[in-house]
């Protein structure tokens, strides 16, 4: 019996050891298999179009994936970065996009997506549409984060942990010149790329040389030629108004009216280009209205240089004080079935009104930090999120820096103003950085007077703070559902509805400016004094 018990104990021990060894071996084998499959994984990516098929209609990318590796692949997330490695894709909860969300097409397919060996998403009918995250609302900031206005990298993350990426617009990867009987042939190739491979998908041959009217100087970038070795198309723009010319670079005396913008697209091959133009007003100049035609008004061919001219017109209304207008834009064409986009170009600057009358003060505005928040973003994600059409924006934020030589305190009388032609709209400041937790939204409620008895947002010398302005129309106001944010009122209080109604905005361009009211102490023993500063405005276009 004792022997039996001992035998059982020993057998149990060895069985346990054997089981442990088995699980260890299995884990080892699984790990090796996973590493092996990861090393065999290879995806070829292609961006083949920027279309209006998705909603929103602008700034979307279409991505196809072909599994050219030796193991099946599963795509788990797609994300977009800029050339600095910063994430520019905008999802509901994360920049890593995994599918549609609440009916919005952040992606048009739901991930994960398995791609068998040798199969492409095109053949599966599963090409991936990536929304830039803009224009998903009828009232959306129109410019920032648009994929079209910068070089971006679309990245695909697989379940094996590999990341494959492709640049958009497609880079011009090779330009080779070959001497052939009867002339010189230049072959220009665009390519698709993945993390490990590069494959030429189109090849376009043109005769004679490429350059600025035959010049070989790579710095040539005139309206009659194009820059060799960079993008295949080059855009030049020139703006003027009545009584001036493009070449004179008009800098004064313009108080509003029609601005003509000439856009010249130059290419080394015959293409059918379209142009995308965005006016950028500064100061208190409202966003101009107008557009470019869908097709060029004229075209010329000089040797192998093809030139297309678009004549665009914009109407500029003078703002409260003055500022400038600059146009930026680019051209898009299809070459060999692949989308080719020019580098972004900037026009000359036109002065509107009188710049000298702009108020100066210690605060400096970073208009690129302008953001908005809505109910779908109530959880506190500070990323600008565009919401569905039924949501209204609840708050705006923007960063300002104290460039003066004394600490200031921003008071509750500060506000964000949309300077519209028909009606001004004011959105009043709320407290410091909101906690976004529960309903404990910050407020200046209870503040009165100047420091030290009053309250406000203290900004040290050189410090940058984020100011939050409430959109007065709360979420789902008048509806029985929704969270009903009650931000926004006069002087940071939460009871006075006397502020702009966001709903009143139509599809239009407006100029946004900040009127900052702040207090400053002239000396250690002096009383605080109140000042106001109108920060230079910036254009916003709502659709």
């Amino acid at each position: 019996m004792i022997f039996g018990i001992l035998f059982t104990a020993v057998i149990t021990y060895f069985y346990f050891q054997s089981s442990s060894n088995l699980s260890l071996a299995q884990a080892n084998a699984s790990a090796n298999l996973a590493r092996q499959q990861a090393s065999h994984e290879n995806l070829q990516l292609g961006i083949f179009n920027v279309t209006n098929q998705l909603s929103p209609a602008y700034g979307n990318l279409w991505l196809n994936i072909t599994n050219v590796g030796g193991s099946p692949s599963t795509v788990v997330a797609v994300f977009v970065t800029n050339s600095a490695g910063q994430l520019v894709s905008t999802g509901p909860t994360s920049p890593y996009l995994t599918g549609p969300y609440s009916g919005l097409n952040y992606l048009n397919v739901t991930l994960p997506l398995a791609v068998p060996v040798g199969v492409s998403t095109t053949s599966m009918g599963k090409d991936i549409g990536i929304s830039s995250g803009i224009k998903q609302s009828p009232k959306a900031f129109d410019y920032l984060d648009d994929f079209r206005h910068q070089t971006v990298y679309v990245n695909v993350l697989t379940a094996a942990g590999n990341t494959f990426s492709i640049q958009f617009p497609h880079p011009l990867t090779t330009t080779t010149t070959t001497n052939l009987p009867g002339g010189t042939t230049t072959t220009t190739s665009w390519s698709t790329s993945s993390s490990s491979t590069s494959q030429t998908i189109s090849s376009v041959s043109t005769s004679t040389s490429v350059g600025c009217n035959g010049q070989t100087d790579t710095t040539c970038n005139t309206a009659s030629g194009f820059l060799v070795g960079t993008n295949s198309m080059v855009v030049q723009m020139c703006a003027w108004y009545s009584g001036t010319t493009c070449q004179s670079s008009p800098t004064g005396g313009f108080d509003g009216g029609t601005v003509t913008l000439s856009v010249t697209v130059t290419a080394g091959i015959a293409v059918t280009p379209t142009v995308v133009i965005m006016p950028i007003p500064t100061g208190t100049v409202p966003q101009p209205t107008g557009s470019c035609p869908s097709s060029p008004s004229s075209s010329t061919t000089t040797g192998s240089t093809y030139e297309y001219t678009f004549t665009c017109t914009y109407n500029v209304l003078q703002g409260n004080i003055g500022g400038t207008i600059t146009f930026i834009g680019y051209s898009v064409a299809t070459v060999g079935g692949s989308q080719v986009t020019s580098a972004e170009s900037t026009s000359n600057t036109i002065t509107v009104g009188n710049l000298a009358t702009e108020l100066t003060g210690p605060l400096s505005l970073d208009y690129t930090s302008f953001r908005f928040y809505s109910t779908s973003n109530q959880g506190g994600n500070p990323t600008p999120v565009i919401t569905a059409s039924q949501n209204k924006f609840a708050a705006f934020s923007v960063k300002v820096t104290n460039t003066g030589n004394a600490t200031i305190i921003i008071l509750q009388y500060s506000y964000l103003q949309f300077a519209r032609v028909s009606q001004e709209m004011d959105f009043y400041i709320i407290g410091g950085a909101p906690s976004y937790s529960g309903n404990t939204f910050p407020s200046f409620s209870g503040c009165s007077g100047l420091p030290p008895s009053g309250c406000g947002i203290t900004v040290a010398v050189g410090a940058t703070v984020t100011l939050y302005f409430a959109a007065c129309q709360p979420m789902n106001q008048g509806s029985s559902s929704g969270s009903g944010w009650l931000w926004g009122s006069n002087y940071g209080n939460s009871n006075n509805p006397n502020c702009g109604t966001f709903n009143a905005l139509g599809a239009e361009g407006v100029n946004a400016l900040i009127v900052a009211n702040f207090a400053e102490q002239p000396g250690p023993t002096k009383s605080w004094v109140s000042f106001s500063q109108t920060l230079p405005g910036f254009g916003i276009y709502f659709t």
Binding site: A9, V76, S94
Partner: protein
Amino acid sequence: MAHLKRRHAVSELMGTLLMIGITLVAGAAVIGWVNGQAGASEQAYGSNVAANVNYLREHFVIVNVQFPAADCWPTTQSQYCSQMQISIYNNGALVDSISSITVVDSGGALDVNLTSSTSASHPPGAYCTSGSGCSITPLLSTATMTTGATTGNSPLTFTVNLPISASACSTLVCFNVGSFYTVQVLGKYGYLAQVQLTASG
């Protein structure tokens, strides 16, 4: 006739019982010892195997490291950033968490060392040299990463915040744009992922 001297002895029955008793006691002692030794050995071996299995099953990748432009100053030369965002995707075979994140600069200096015992705001130390120290969100002690290619499973992004702002960072650790950094992420079971990058704001 010689008087037969009688000797006292246990009976055969008693002897047998005694032998059985002694055997049982000794056997029980041996069994106890063997079981104890086997149990201790199994426990040690099992722990070792479990650690190895977990280590083999643990795997994650650093998908992206970015320095958000909104937290970089100034916008001209000598740009530096206060925030680093590290996105990690768990492609291992178990639900995982991160044990520590360290950032080492090109000179080999330890700029940031955040562990699962780090509270919301790390106390000043060799890293984050002064002020209130650096912080990380979400906390490593609470953040878990699900695994596998399941719907909606995307990388988890950790944000490392340095206690600097628009003021100069001459006396503080800061992420200098253009400088070279090594980011090391240590998993709960010992897996180490590392990425080297040049900061760009």
